[in-house]
Amino acid sequence: MAEIQDDEVLDASGLSCPMPVVRAAQAMRGLAPGQVLRIVATDRGSLADIPAWAEDTGNELLDTRDEGGRLVFFVRKGSE
């Protein structure tokens, strides 16, 4: 699988719900539309919440990976 290029990385490891989403929302504000945020989290609640947050906020979830408990999300900033 081709590696997705990210423009910024947010390490939310060790943070529990709701902080991964809060930090992701804050980090996303610094990006331009079309740029990609890579989010790393360990809270398994993120598996439901990061995709829901991305969808609700007009961003696009490109990929989700579960690397042995380390959850990696790639979210492309929407144009809104």
Binding site: C17, P18, V21, V22, A25, Q26, A48, P51, A52
Partner: protein, 394 residues
């Protein structure tokens, strides 16, 4: 300002008006949510929306702003608002934000996970020589039972969190001498075989239910057959097996000392079991009809302990899901129809069947040792409330 699963359940049993503000993702809410009696209403407002605009770390303030702008008319004042999330972390911030706006709001400790795993334990019979303990899993509407006489305990329809049964039996100073599944369950992962292994007791099941009804493949777990008329003595008491096919082809009900009936999935407090989970509703409905009539012809004073409930409102004031043959004959719509002729009963049954949950085929495979599952998969399959009863009549 928290409320635990036990207190939430007590509110449900008392039918206290309660507003559940569930802040999980919409998909999670759609898949499964906390359900109470009619006095309980729920609203899904995903926290991911509440916190999408948060500056800094003042989460309660951000939530309060979101609620004022978007939910002011949707959340009632004058009754308790219980904020609910997956594990109880986010809901604590939500409750705090709501309180800052003057709402009477608390957070559900441990979230939907704690609610889903909560077991309610209570004695429904407590005599010098005999106790019957109800072990309920409210989130799923599942009931299991422990009968204790002297130092001997029989566990009926145990669910998969075995530590509860070990604790309860140990607290009574008893040991488990038999584990019985009244039928091969399709709606939840049985703890029966594993509990029997853990204590070195026989695991008993009717042999007809040891064949998967859809796959037509025999069980790969060992079991000791329990059939019509077989008696299972324990302490000073005795259980007697009644073969009551209908919900499953090998369904059992268990009479205890001629006074009590563990009904399994036949008669519930407010409904009756469905006969179609084996995929043969038309063939099994006449068997179901005859079995229900047989049970309803037991002495009227017989106390009945069912295998499921559909609503916490079915419990008595003490939280017990217990009825009697007399009350079932008088007030249970499905039972009253079973007392009538087969043809109208069959028409009623076939018109009242809820949707067949596809995961029930896989759950029964697990219960017969035809497939394996790790805990996460078992929990996923079990999501939500059982649908072993007929739908509520329209």
């Amino acid at each position: 300002m928290n409320l635990g699963p036990a207190e939430l359940l007590a509110r449900f049993s008392r039918r206290e008006p309660t507003f559940l503000l569930d802040v999980r993702a919409a998909k999670e809410f759609a898949a499964w949510r906390i359900e109470g009696p009619a006095e309980v209403t729920a609203l899904n407002a995903p926290y991911t929306r509440m916190l999408a605009e948060v500056e800094g770390d003042d989460l309660p303030r951000a939530i309060a702003r979101y609620v004022e702008a978007n939910l002011a008319d949707a959340i009632p004042r004058g009754r308790l608002v219980v904020a609910v999330c997956a594990k109880g972390g986010t809901s604590a911030f939500v409750a705090e934000g709501l309180r800052s706006l003057g709402y009477d709001a608390v957070s559900l400790t441990g979230g939907t996970k704690a609610w889903g795993d909560w077991y309610d334990v209570r004695a429904v019979v407590d005599e010098p020589d005999l106790a019957v303990l109800q072990i309920a899993r409210p989130a799923r509407g599942c009931l299991s039972w422990i009968a204790v006489s002297g130092d001997a305990a029989v566990v009926i329809d145990p669910l998969r969190h075995l530590e509860r049964y070990h604790e309860v039996v140990a607290a009574r100073g008893a040991r488990i001498v038999a584990v019985i599944d009244t039928h091969a369950h399709a709606d939840h992962v049985s703890g029966g075989r594993a509990l029997a292994d853990a204590v070195g007791a026989p695991y008993r099941l009717h042999p007809y239910d040891a064949i998967h009804p859809i796959d037509l493949v025999p069980a790969r777990i060992p079991y000791e057959p329990l059939t019509e008329g077989v008696r299972v003595p324990f302490g000073a008491s005795v259980l007697e097996a009644l073969h009551v096919p209908g919900h499953t082809i090998g369904a059992l009900a268990l009479r205890l000392d001629g006074r009590f009936l563990f009904a399994g999935d036949t008669l519930f407090v407010a409904s009756i079991a469905r006969p179609d989970l084996g995929g043969r509703a038309e063939a099994w409905t006449p068997l179901h009809h005859a079995s229900l009539r047989r049970l309803l012809d037991l002495p009227r004073e017989t106390i009945v302990f069912p295998g499921h409930f559909s609503s916490p409102a079915e419990a008595d004031d003490g939280g017990a899901y217990v009825t009697s043959i007399a009350d079932l004959r008088a007030g249970n719509d499905g039972a009253r129809r079973a007392l009538g002729d087969l043809d109208p009963f069959a028409r009623y049954i076939l018109a009242s069947l809820p949707e067949f949950p596809p995961q029930y085929v896989e759950i029964k495979r697990l219960n017969l040792g035809l497939a394996d599952a790790v805990d996460d998969r078992a929990a996923e399959l079990e999501l939500g409330k059982n649908v072993c009863a007929l739908a509520a009549p329209a």
